[in-house]
């Protein structure tokens, strides 16, 4: 590669570039990458703050092996997976319906968009409390509604399985708007003349959806899928506040178990191993995201 004879201009630009980038990147390296490296390092040691006399010996992959054999960890993993599948499916489905319905221009569309965005914007803690209150045994509106139509409601937060209902519904209520807006943006990118041509060719609404909308919405759907899956996998705030992982550990997702190990049981070594596992899954999803979006941008772009 021929080097620039008067290298001054390019070198100047490069130097300026690095100078501008350094504060942000430096901060990120310090407070994100370094701690993550530290976590990985820590996960290879025994480090229990309740038993400081044991020191901090290197134990290799023992924490990970313990995790695999830990029934509570396995359960937490199952909880997390089930929660992810249920909430993401509902969010994508409802989001799709909402996006389709909002795709027409109508008066007050901006207001509707703003209104449905509010659940997304509030703290998850608040959402959790609102839904907890609605499902409360005594004063909850949900129970009142159910009994008024003759259905006998379960004791929501005491029943191992029923406790998932408010959790999932709360997540769906809070996150569907984001999915809907993402899909709406994707829908608005579809050329209207495709539908006109299809209508002239005699296609029904369902066929139009299946052969035009779905394929062209694929990129947006994939982005929504990956984002929501990654976030559902990391769920913490919602469960901590709504059920505390209970009853017992029946609704404990993996992030909550990790938190408990770290900051309540003070088992830093073990908790770090759990965090690394959570990170690995999130990382794999991130790689998937880059692949999908990257391929879309370079491959299928018109």
């Amino acid at each position: 590669m021929p080097r620039a004879e008067p290298g001054g201009a390019e070198q100047r630009e490069a130097r300026l570039g690095w100078a501008l980038v350094l504060p942000a990147i430096g901060t990120i390296l310090l407070i994100a990458l370094f701690p993550l490296g530290w976590t990985v390092w820590e996960s290879l040691h025994l480090h229990d703050l309740r038993m400081p006399w044991l020191g901090r010996p290197f134990i290799g992959l023992n924490n990970y092996l313990e995790a695999v054999g830990d029934a509570r960890f396995r359960e937490a993993l199952v909880h997390t997976l089930l929660f992810t599948v249920a909430s993401v499916t509902l969010e994508l489905g409802l989001g799709c319906v909402l996006a389709l319905a909002m795709n027409r221009t109508f008066r007050g569309r901006g207001l509707v968009r703003a209104a449905i965005l509010v659940p997304w914007a509030i703290p998850t803690v608040v959402a959790a409390l609102i839904w907890r209150f609605m499902f409360d045994g005594d004063s909850g509106i949900v129970n009142a509604a159910l009994t008024s139509i003759g259905v006998d409601p379960p004791v929501w937060f005491v029943d191992r399985f029923a406790a998932w209902v408010p959790v999932i519904l709360g997540d769906v209520w809070k996150e569907t708007p984001f999915v809907a807006l993402l899909l709406l943006a994707g829908l608005q990118g579809i050329d209207a003349s495709l539908y006109e041509a299809a209508r002239i060719d005699g296609a029904t609404a369902w066929r139009q959806f299946r052969y035009i909308t779905l394929p062209l919405l694929k990129p947006a759907l994939l982005v929504a899928l990956i984002f929501r899956t990654r976030d559902a996998f990391r769920v913490f705030d919602l469960v901590y506040v709504m059920t505390g992982g209970g009853p017992g550990t029946a609704t404990e997702p993996i992030a909550l178990y990790t938190f408990t190990s770290l900051l309540q049981n003070l088992r830093f070594g073990y908790g770090s191993a759990l965090s690394v596992l959570v990170f690995l899954v999130a990382f794999l999803l991130a790689v998937g995201y880059i692949r999908v979006v990257g391929a879309d941008l370079t491959g299928e772009r018109r």
């Binding site: 590669m1 021929p2 620039a4 004879e5 008067p6 001054g8 201009a9 390019e10 100047r12």
Partner: protein, 331 residues
């Protein structure tokens, strides 16, 4: 005003693309030079290197006596009119036109006076306090022009400034630019892909192709004595006809230089294929023997019909000969 010199300028991008291969060009003080060629020929790259927005990989660029190859654009004292005008959308017309002077530290009253002067010359007094978003295409073009003129730079650079205008405005603005050049006696380097524009505006036309200069000469010379096959085919519309000769050379003759005569009385024979009436002339597509299709410009009142056999006469003073392997002109 100043002279410009390109000496052996090359530009290769990191991905391997060669945008300029050895450009040598000298522009005289006050000369209007047009760089013309198809997209990808390197004309815009050459202009941007002159502005300082790109750095040559090799070679030198001089403005006046100063070697500006490594000088950043803000210190070069050139003004540029972009294809999209690049007006600052958040500033008024007045602020847009005064920006360059403000950057150079001119006192506010001098800036105000100069902006008013230029606005008056371009007919922009009414819109001085508006923002670009509120102007028409033609007005925006004039503001872009005003912004360049207000600075009284050593050199003016134009990057396809007319391509965003409709035909009528384009013709008007072309005349405006020619007048401007005469008045300011400015050194102008102008880039376009439109060969007609190049021929009407430039003191000299620089035809570029694939990163190199094919020919740099006054318009008439480029038209009458194209130096290469590429120039011959690029300049002049409709395109020149090229006929392979028995001695291996290519004979070039412009459609305007072929005369329709009775069959068997001219140097060439053929059958008329398509007749395109164009008002002041007719464009004929003639199927000549040898399977060649020739373009011929004929007078408007000549009666020609498709399927009609015709003869074609050449003017020996108006033919061109090229070596097909080098593409260069022979004699």
């Amino acid at each position: 005003m100043a002279t410009i010199r390109f000496e052996g300028v090359r530009k290769t991008y990191p991905n391997g693309h060669v945008a300029a291969r050895g450009i040598d060009l000298a522009v005289a003080d006050g000369e209007f030079v047009v760089l013309v060629g198809p997209s990808g020929c390197g004309k815009s790259t050459a202009l941007r290197m002159l502005a300082g927005l790109e750095t040559p990989t090799a070679g030198r660029i001089f403005i006046g006596d100063r070697d500006v190859t490594a000088v950043p654009p803000q210190d070069r004292d050139v003004a540029m009119v972009f294809q999209s005008y690049a007006l600052y959308p958040h500033m008024t017309v007045r602020a847009n036109m005064g920006f360059g002077l403000r950057m150079r530290g001119a006192p506010p009253d001098r800036i105000a006076a100069r902006v008013a002067e230029v606005a008056q010359a371009l007919g922009l007094e009414q819109v001085l306090d508006r923002k670009p978003g509120q102007l028409s295409g033609g007005q925006r073009q004039r503001v872009a022009l005003g912004r360049a003129i207000a600075r009284e730079p050593q050199v003016f650079l134009f990057d396809e400034p007319l391509s965003n205008l409709d035909t009528k405005l384009r013709v008007e603005t072309r005349a405006e630019l020619a007048r401007l050049h005469r008045r300011l006696r400015a050194t102008i380097v102008y880039v376009t892909h439109d060969q007609e524009e190049a021929m009407t505006l430039g003191d000299r036309v620089v035809v570029m192709h694939d990163g190199a200069i094919e020919q740099a000469a006054p318009p008439m010379e480029v038209y009458r004595r194209p130096a290469t096959l590429f120039v011959a085919g690029f300049v002049g519309s409709p395109e020149m006809n090229l006929l392979p000769q028995p001695d291996g050379t290519l004979l070039g003759v412009r459609p305007q230089d072929l005369t329709v005569v009775a069959p068997a009385t001219g140097e060439l024979e053929g059958i008329v294929d398509v007749v395109e009436p164009r008002g002041s002339e007719q464009l004929l597509y003639v199927h000549a023997d040898g399977g060649r299709e020739l373009r011929v410009i004929a007078p408007p009142d000549l009666t020609v019909t498709p399927e009609q056999p015709v003869g074609l006469r050449l003017d020996p003073a108006r033919v061109h000969r090229f070596d097909p392997s080098t593409g260069r002109r022979l004699a």
